[in-house]
Each structure stands twice: as structure tokens, then as C-alpha cells.
Amino acid sequence: MNSPHDPPVAQTGDHRGQDMRADQLRTQIAMAIFAVLTIAMAVVPSVTGNVSLAFYLMLWVTMASAMNICVGFTGYMPFGFVVFYGVGAYATGICYRILDWPILPSLIAAGVVGVMISLLLAPTLRLKGVYFGIVSLALATIVRLFIANLPDDFTGGSIGLILAKANNPTHSYYAMLVVMAATLATVLWLSTSSLGKALKAIRDDDGAAACIGIHVPNTRLKAWVLAALFPALAGGIEAWYTNVVDPEYAFNVLVTAKSIIYGMAGGFGTILGPVIGTLALLGVDHLIWQKFPVINLLLLGLVIVLLMLFMPRGIVGTLLKRKPQLRRYIA
């Protein structure tokens, strides 16, 4: 295996140590930031009774990070992303309300159904760019219409389902915390793992990736399934938190839009980006936009336009472009 021209181990030792420590530094910084966020969120309910903002912060951090798995790691922009969220919400609602399962198995069902749908939609991964986006949107619409056409006593029709018996803001809050932590842990793992590197290679040039031995479709599929799991769980937990599965909201294109925009505001190329973007925009939303509900939507659109025109790489991405040396610290 080793030819006489392989380098002696001693020579590589010091560089290896250096480089490993540099990589670890990056990962540790991200881990620290994620840990601080998680702990802060865990503490919120004991500090205030109004946990709504914190709950939705966790929800959107989850959604934006999951979107990052698709966009930042694999290079796909799924415009039908909401389909995972929606089927997760409905799976939980139906299992809990109609089938009378306890809440925990209902949430697990959400995850399972999300994964199943992602496998069903896997053939679309063959498509590229705009084509993929449009088909993704069309398929999400088909799923939405399909559910709308299921018998009303199964899905609650246009009124939706009410999960009143489940009402437990504290437990659902902590469930969301667990899912957010799991999502952050996953993207943290991806940023250092072989799978993550392979995905980035595929994102950069999938033909070249194949030429160096990467099984592109299989690798993409793994990311796709992973990216579907967390929104599905989030949808289920949100349904639990609000007690309502609402067809208008569960499959609303704004869910996809916000996942993309919050992620993009921070920047999709890093794992810190979506978290920072969500914190920034949700913060702005709470401080400013909530006070002007009428033009809230207008401002959201304006932010998207301004972001795309002036800061398409997002906060973190633009920072990295200007100061590449910061790449050592930002995962």
C-alpha cells in the first residue's frame, strides 16, 4: 500500500497538529455559540411567561438550518420546502386527533412521514437549478391539494384540526428546544464530516465530484432526507404548541420564504449564517414589524429585495468575502 515515496509520518506530524487544531477551533467556536443559544432558550420559560418569541426563534433557526443543508451544503433551493413542514403538522394532527395516539408517537410519526415524503420526492434531485425549484413548488402544491381532497373527517377540511387536549405550552416548548439542538448538532457534524465535504464538492461541481469517485445521487439523497426530517418535526411540534393544524398555514409558501430569507440574511455557506440571520431578522420583525402589521409583509418583501441586491451572501457571507482570514474561526 505504501510506496517508498509516501511521506514519513514524523514530517507531517507538526502540520497535521496545527491544521487539526485550526479546524477544531472553528468547530469549537460554532459549538460554543450553539450551546449558548440552546442554554439561553432553555432558561427563558423560568424568566418569563411569554415564551412565544423564543419558541418561534427556535422554530425558525431549525427551519433555516435545515434549509442550509439543502442550499449551503448540497446546492439545491427547494421552493416546495414547506411540504415537509405541512405533512409533519398533519401527521401529528391526524395521529393525535383522529387516531388517538399520545403526543410523543404523533410527533415521531411527523418525522417518519417527513422522511417518507422526501424519499417519494427523491427523483426530483436529478433536476437542476430553476427546474428543480419549479418542480419542487409544483409538487408541494400537489401534496397540499391531495391532502385537501382527503375526506374531511380525516383531515379536518378547510377548518383544520384542533388538538385541544394536547395543550401544554411548556412541554411543546422543550420539544422544540430538543429539535433545534438536534438540528444544530447535525449541521455541526456535517461541517466537519466526510459527508459534508462530499456535499460541498457536489454543490461546487457535481460532474467533477463524480469523476473523483463520489456517488452523487446517493450522497444528495442522504442530505435531502436529513433536510426533510427537521422541518417535519418542527411542523408537528408547532401544531402541538398552537393546538391547531391549519391548512392555510401548514402549506403556506411563506414558510419556505422565511426559511430561505432568514437563512440567506445570515448566509448559506456557513453553519453560523442561518442562525445569525434568523436572530437578526426575527429580532427586527419583533421590534419593528410587529408594530406595523399592515406593512409587515411589504417590509419582508423589501428586505428580500434589498438583501438580493446588496448583500446576496448575507451578513456572515459578506463578512467572509471582505475578510477571508476570518474563515479560520467561522464554520
Binding site: 433551493m77 427523483p123 436529478r126 433536476l127 437542476k128 437549478g129 430553476v130 427546474y131 425549484g133 419549479i134 418542480v135 413548488l137 409544483a138 409538487l139 402544491t141 400537489i142 391539494l145 391531495f146 385537501a148 381532497n149 409558501v253 420564504a257 430561505i260 440567506m264 399592515v294 406593512i295 409583509l297 411589504l298 419582508l300 418583501g301 423589501l302 428586505v303 428580500i304 429585495v305 438583501l307 438580493m308 441586491l309 446588496f310 446576496p312 451572501r313
Partner: protein
């Protein structure tokens, strides 16, 4: 039953032509600029509101609104091009960037329409005698026939423009090969602005026609029309502005005939399913020479 099916067929043709106009507008913008105009549907609804305002405030009928809408929105599009588009070419992925940019624009336009016109559905009141025409055993609303005729005239004008005029030929050339056009010395920037203006103008005019044909419209219907427009392009093929028409007819007929047998949402599902199938089987569409990448 057969009369219903034929009725569906006829509706499909009428709607198909309208959908075709949407597709042509999108095709011009995407083909020439590689910009995914996600706000196309919103401009369409804006056109409908334009006709509505002209009618309620100034008593101007749709026949006059149509050319006015085109002129006004062409100018708007032309100007908007310079505000929005040139920056996109500098980004890493111009197509996705344009998609997201226009998505933001679509949200803004929807919100603006909501603010100005409120969420209630509006209609364009038309008094046309007779309300229905009998052709064979079939009942056709007169206004739909008129819209169909106008749409066909527009398509003819567009075809003339694209195939017989200098500017039109230049646009078709860009669709086929951007860089070659630059080398030949045509001012691609201004031509692109013309293309954008043309697309937006077409969207607005289609909106007026839609207001004539459908009972009502509201601020957030834009999304659905945008999606239909893309389905039509996919079916007909990129680079074939007129090919979009065939795709649209296919979609319209599928949808309207399905409505006879199923409910509207299933009909929509079938229409969308048709597009998804086409992408997998023949990605270049029925007529296109190159796939959307």
C-alpha cells in the same frame, strides 16, 4: 356528457390561449435575460387592477385599457430593469438570485395591492349584449370569445414583432445565444430592458383579459398565475415564445376537461402532474431545443 366535455375543451382552449400569453411573457424575460420573473403573476393582477381603476374612476372600458395597460407597464418594466437587474449578473448564481429577487418583488407587490385595494375580491363590470352566444349546442359567454379574439390578435402581433422586426429578431437571437449577440455589436443592455418591459407589458395586458374572463380577482392570486406561466414554459419549451402557446393549450385543456370529471383542485393537480411528467420525460419541452440547463 359529451357536450360537457366539448364545453370543457372549448374552455380549455380559451383559457389555454390566456395561459399562453402568460407563458410568452415569462419566456421573453427568462429567455432573453435568464431572469426568473417570480413576480409575473403579480404584474398580471396589477394589470387587472389597472383596468378596474380606469373603469370605476374614469369609466374607461377594457378595450381602451388594454393598449394603455401595455404602454404604461412596458414603461414600468423598462425602468424597473435598470433598477433591479444589472446587479444580478455579478452574483455567484444569477438565476437563483433573480428568482429570489423577483420573489421579494412579488411579496412587495402583493402587499401593496393589499394595502391599496384591500383583500376583497374585485370584478370588472362589463355590460355586453348578448351575455351568451349559442354555437352549435354550446353556451359561450360573449366576453370570453372577445377575450379569445383579442388574445389571438395579440399573439399575432407578437409573432410579427418577434419574427419580422429588427428588434424582435435581436431578442430571439439573444434567447438562442447571449454572447454571440454581444459580439455582433447589439446593445444587449437596452435590448434586455426592452425585453423586460415587453414581458411586464404582456403580463399586465393578460391581466386585463383575465379580469374580463374570470368573475373576480384579488391581491394574492398572483402566485398561482406565476406557477401556471412556468408550467406552460416547461411544457412548450424554452426559447420558443410561440411554443409556449401549444404547452398552454395542452395545460388548459387538461385542466378544463378534468374539471368535468373531477373537482377543480384535482384538475389543478393533474395539470401540475402533467408538467412534472414532462420534465422527467422530455425536459426540453415539446418544442424547445435546449433544456432549462
Amino acid at each position: 356528457m359529451t357536450t360537457l366535455v366539448i364545453q370543457g375543451l372549448l374552455n380549455g382552449i380559451i383559457l389555454g390561449v390566456l395561459y399562453g400569453l402568460i407563458g410568452v411573457g415569462l419566456n421573453v424575460i427568462f429567455g432573453v435575460l435568464r431572469v426568473v420573473n417570480f413576480a409575473h403573476g403579480e404584474f398580471l393582477v396589477l394589470g387587472a387592477y389597472f383596468a378596474f381603476v380606469l373603469m370605476t374612476a374614469l369609466g374607461i372600458g377594457p378595450m381602451v385599457s388594454l393598449p394603455l395597460a401595455f404602454i404604461v407597464f412596458f414603461a414600468v418594466g423598462y425602468a424597473l430593469y435598470f433598477v433591479l437587474i444589472p446587479r444580478l449578473s455579478k452574483s455567484d448564481d444569477p438565476e437563483t438570485s433573480s428568482l429570489l429577487l423577483m420573489f421579494g418583488v412579488s411579496i412587495m407587490l402583493g402587499a401593496i395591492m393589499l394595502l391599496v385595494f384591500e383583500a376583497d375580491a374585485r370584478s370588472l363590470q362589463l355590460d355586453i349584449e348578448p351575455v351568451f352566444l349559442m354555437l352549435g349546442g354550446l353556451l359561450i359567454p360573449t366576453v370570453r370569445l372577445i377575450a379569445l379574439l383579442i388574445a389571438l390578435v395579440m399573439i399575432a402581433l407578437l409573432a410579427y414583432f418577434l419574427y419580422k422586426t429588427q428588434v424582435g429578431k435581436a431578442l430571439r437571437a439573444i434567447i438562442m445565444n447571449r454572447d454571440a449577440v454581444r459580439i455582433v455589436g447589439i446593445n444587449a443592455e437596452r435590448l434586455s430592458a426592452v425585453a423586460f418591459g415587453l414581458g411586464i407589458g404582456l403580463a399586465a395586458v393578460t391581466g386585463v383579459l383575465v379580469a374580463m374572463v374570470f368573475p373576480s380577482f384579488s391581491p394574492f392570486m398572483g402566485n398561482d398565475y406565476t406557477l401556471i406561466g412556468f408550467i406552460v414554459i416547461v411544457l412548450g419549451g424554452l426559447g420558443h415564445p410561440i411554443g409556449a402557446l401549444v404547452g398552454a393549450l395542452l395545460f388548459g385543456i387538461t385542466e378544463q376537461v378534468s374539471v368535468v370529471f373531477f373537482n377543480p383542485s384535482i384538475a389543478t393537480m393533474l395539470g401540475f402532474g402533467l408538467m412534472v411528467g414532462m420534465i422527467f420525460i422530455k425536459p426540453t419541452g415539446l418544442f424547445g431545443r435546449q433544456a432549462l440547463r
